[in-house]
């Protein structure tokens, strides 16, 4: 397509793209996001290409590889338009039947459909509970477009907000709209984006930068990745609009090197946008110039912090700056630099197109719009969910997430990434927004949501996150570097059964100083996992320290395995599977674990058939004395009691 020279050109281009597309024509879309890719969607795609061609359907059926749909738990995902029939867990061998039954015969294939708890099959993607209760205004287009094809984005109305801004709105009007929408930063702090934009705009200087923070590093979080991979133009369009409002002509996308698909899809998006005249000199003939450079991060979590990110863009080691001056005033090369997260930028075109009033009609008083969460952990339906601000944890975890796996009991949900907090069951009806989470001693963060069940040890969880943060601390300031080191030591000690009375108080004492004296947000928030667990799950700490007991049976130093001689049938499975040969026994002889050899790997516990359940996990009490070697079993195999 030729370079677009006006908003009218863009509209003409859209009409032209649409005129070539028949909405009634079957279109098979296959998710090619990272989750589905890992589950083998490439092979399914190849099978689709070959089957469609073999059946002579190439002219009658469109095939599209899309970005992440979000229901990663059940990938690879196929959705067949126009009926939006959704197939989950598709394998290459399912493809011939999909072609013959669904495409040629218009019949859904039952076994590939979603099945609800009552055994009812659901064919339409939008009716699946995981999707049904979401509000996917930012993430929803992912399933409709091929991220490698700008035409798909334009067909859906893409870049119309940019056209509107450049030709119908002054930069002040754009700024005012974003401010009235009360769009708050989706990357962690929840700072109002409009205020930040205004600061950069009002700071004197010829050169100003706008930057996309795509340095998503929280364990278990992948919403920014999926947006950038699946709909890069939505982020880019938001960035260009922001640049126009701020008066910036140069932008950066700081993206992790560990996100190769995001880097390649974004690079392609930039080159396609340049070709269309949507990026570069004289955008859409408006006279506005703006271009973007991709800066790939070298893997440090700390580089997601704004001043560290800017230092990294300058080519130095990503370490936070100590100055009390906002990066919006003095950022990259000491120039005003406005940094927003991927999801924040992707909200901008929606706000421009549909207005601030529409945006503020969604959400709670203080938090407007939607938020994308990485719903992971012990929940049935893991994946990415986008919900209006204010939805309760219960609705997200149970209605959308389907509840806890294997009928286990909910224990906690960790929100806000590694420096967020763990919320207990008593807070399950908490409406999720920036302010409520902060009040509950957790935070929104970038939207991580890790669900934990009764088999999770909360001390171990705090230990895990503190290790992560101590490893990722840049080490520049004393409280973060040495404070986290000592907190990790104490937590390790507690989990190893060497906790001492006073350790909880000591953890809290160090936490206070790390929180108050650290240089940047990493240190200031790093004690959260400890403080929220000592607050809500103090009894678990006490059990570890005083009772030398791990209530969840996780901390190896505090658990033992024992074979109940009355239940053992001498079936030999545990004896055969024990990796360290710690189990002795023989035909009809009670099996016995040598406690000195046992590494507590839990293999015997897991392999002992449930109908016997002879292997018992013990914590906080002495291991019963085993019968002498050579004792005959009392119970026979296969004999039910």
């Amino acid at each position: 397509m030729a370079r677009l020279k006006s908003a009218a050109d863009l509209e003409k281009a859209r009409q032209k793209i649409l005129s070539k597309r028949d909405p009634t024509k079957p279109c098979v879309t296959i998710c090619s996001g990272t989750g589905c890719h890992a589950l083998g969607s490439d092979k399914v795609y190849e099978a689709l290409v070959s089957e469609i061609s073999k059946n002579g359907l190439r002219r009658r059926v469109d095939l599209r590889r899309t970005g992440c749909h979000g229901f990663c738990e059940r990938g690879p995902i196929i959705v067949i338009f126009p009926d939006e029939i959704c197939y989950l867990g598709v394998k290459p061998e399912d493809v011939p039947e999909i072609i013959s039954a669904t495409l040629s015969g218009n019949r859904p294939i039952d076994r590939l459909l979603y099945e609800d708890g009552d055994g009812k099959k659901i064919a339409h993607e939008g009716e699946i509970p995981f999707y049904k209760y979401q509000r996917r205004m930012v993430f929803g287009s992912n399933r409709l477009i091929d991220p490698k094809n700008i035409d798909d984005y334009i067909a859906l109305g893409g870049y119309s907000a940019l056209g509107k801004v450049l030709f119908e709105m002054s930069p002040e009007e754009v700024l005012d709209t974003v401010k009235r929408a009360n769009l708050r930063g989706r990357g962690g702090g929840g700072f109002p984006a409009g205020d930040k934009w205004e600061t950069t705009r009002n700071t004197p200087g010829d050169i100003k930068y706008v930057i996309v923070n795509a340095d998503e590093g929280d364990p278990g979080a992948f919403m920014d990745r999926s947006l950038l991979e699946g709909n890069p133009h939505s982020v880019l369009e938001g960035l260009i609009i922001g640049a126009y409002a701020i008066g910036s002509h140069e932008g950066f996308v700081y993206v992790r090197q560990e996100y190769p698909l995001a880097v390649s899809n974004l690079s392609l998006a930039l080159s396609q946008a340049r070709k269309y005249g949507l990026l570069g000199k004289n955008i859409l003939g408006s006279g506005f110039d703006f271009d973007v450079t991709i800066h790939r991060g070298a893997g440090a979590f700390i580089s997601g912090e704004s001043s560290a990110l800017m230092t990294a863009i300058e080519g130095m080691v990503g370490e936070p700056r100590p100055k009390y001056i906002r990066t919006a005033v003095s950022g990259v090369w000491e120039r005003p630099s406005n940094l927003n997260n991927v999801e924040t930028w992707a909200n901008v075109p929606l706000i421009i197109n549909r207005g601030a009033d529409w945006f503020t009609s969604i959400g709670t008083d203080g938090s407007k719009g939607t938020k994308i969460f990485s719903l992971v952990g012990k929940v049935k339906n893991t994946g990415l969910v986008e919900v209006p601000m204010g939805m309760t944890l219960r609705e997200i975890i149970y209605t959308i997430g389907g509840g806890i796996r294997q009928g286990r009991k909910f224990k906690a949900v960790q929100t806000g990434g590694p420096s967020g907090g763990c919320l207990p069951e008593s807070l399950i009806d908490l409406p999720v927004d920036f302010d409520e989470l902060t009040k509950a001693d957790s935070m929104m963060g970038s939207g991580g949501m890790i669900v934990m069940d009764e088999d999770t040890c909360m001390v171990d969880v705090a230990r895990y996150f503190l290790h992560f943060l101590a490893d990722e601390s840049c080490g520049k300031c004393v409280p973060c570097r040495t404070g986290l080191e000592q907190m990790v030591n104490i937590l390790d000690r507690i989990c190893e059964g060497e906790g001492e009375t006073g350790d909880i108080e000591l953890l809290e004492e160090i936490s206070e100083v790390v929180r108050e004296a650290s240089l940047c947000a990493l240190g200031q928030t790093a004690p959260n996992p400890v403080l929220s667990t000592t607050k809500y799950f103090r009894d678990e700490y006490e059990a570890h320290i005083e009772g030398k007991r791990c209530p969840a049976g996780v901390c190896k130093a505090l658990i033992s395995y024992y074979i109940d001689p009355d239940k053992c049938t001498a079936c030999g499975i545990c004896l055969r599977d024990c990796p360290v040969e710690a189990i002795s026994g023989g035909k009809n002889l009670v099996h016995i674990i040598d406690q000195d050899k046992c590494t507590k790997c839990s293999t015997c516990f897991e392999v002992c058939p449930t109908r016997f359940s002879a292997v018992v996990k013990i914590s906080g009490e002495p291991v019963p004395v085993a019968p002498p070697l050579g004792t005959k079993v009392a119970r026979k195999k296969g004999k039910q009691e």
């Binding site: 009390y324 080490g475 520049k476 409280p479 570097r481 206070e512 108050e516 004296a517």
Partner: protein
């Protein structure tokens, strides 16, 4: 130059605009302890020892005085209980790897340290690194590693040019004496300047 009026420890102080709280305090003869500060170097804000309590419009918060610029009407307390509590914990934390700080620690009542760490005698204040870079322009010393693994190291390529043997100004700047002041040269992680010279010259 515009003047700024603030109050430090009950004393009305006049300072130049653009000064930090630390500079204003020192000018007024009020002592704020520091470990990573040096007047010839850009403020670094790493040791956090110069933390003070600042009140503005009735709200109080802790700030790092070496990087916080003075403003009209600030009320600063350099040794409030909150501040002392922070400094006490900081010195106790540093003491674990730098027992050489024991005198400073005892000033804050830390006599029986509760923490253990690998003893390096280095608190990573970065004075040597920054002095070498900012004043000498030599860049012969650098940080390596991250977090608890952060260390100071010589840059072989620079040291091998011989600049260090002629300079040695970092010796006197090190607050813990990690860089020994003896004449045989500096040593980090047991490696001396001579070792580096020998290694690079034999290549």
């Amino acid at each position: 130059m515009k003047k700024v009026r603030l109050n430090i420890d009950g004393k009305d102080v006049e300072a130049k605009k653009g000064m930090t709280i630390l500079e204003a305090a020192r000018d007024a003869g009020i002592h704020i302890p520091t470990l990573c500060y040096h007047e010839k170097l850009a403020p670094y804000g790493a040791c956090r020892f110069c933390t003070v309590e600042m009140s503005k419009n009735g709200k109080s918060r802790l700030v790092t005085s070496c990087v916080y610029n003075v403003e009209d009407g600030l009320v600063i307390k350099t040794d409030s209980p909150r501040v002392i509590k922070i400094r006490k914990m900081l010195v106790e934390l540093m003491l674990a790897s730098a027992p050489v700080l024991s005198e400073l620690a005892s000033q804050y009542g830390v006599d029986k340290p509760r923490f253990k760490s690998e003893v390096t005698q280095c608190i990573l204040c970065g004075l040597c690194v920054r002095y070498c870079a900012e004043v000498k322009g030599a860049n012969a010393i650098t940080f390596v590693g991250r977090g608890v693994n952060r260390r100071i190291a010589f840059v072989d390529e620079v040291v091998s040019t011989g600049v260090c043997m002629d300079c040695r100004e970092c010796f006197g700047i090190c607050p813990t004496g990690k860089i020994p002041r003896e004449t045989d040269g500096a040593s980090f992680e047991g490696i001396t300047v001579q070792d580096v010279l020998a290694r690079t010259q034999s290549r």
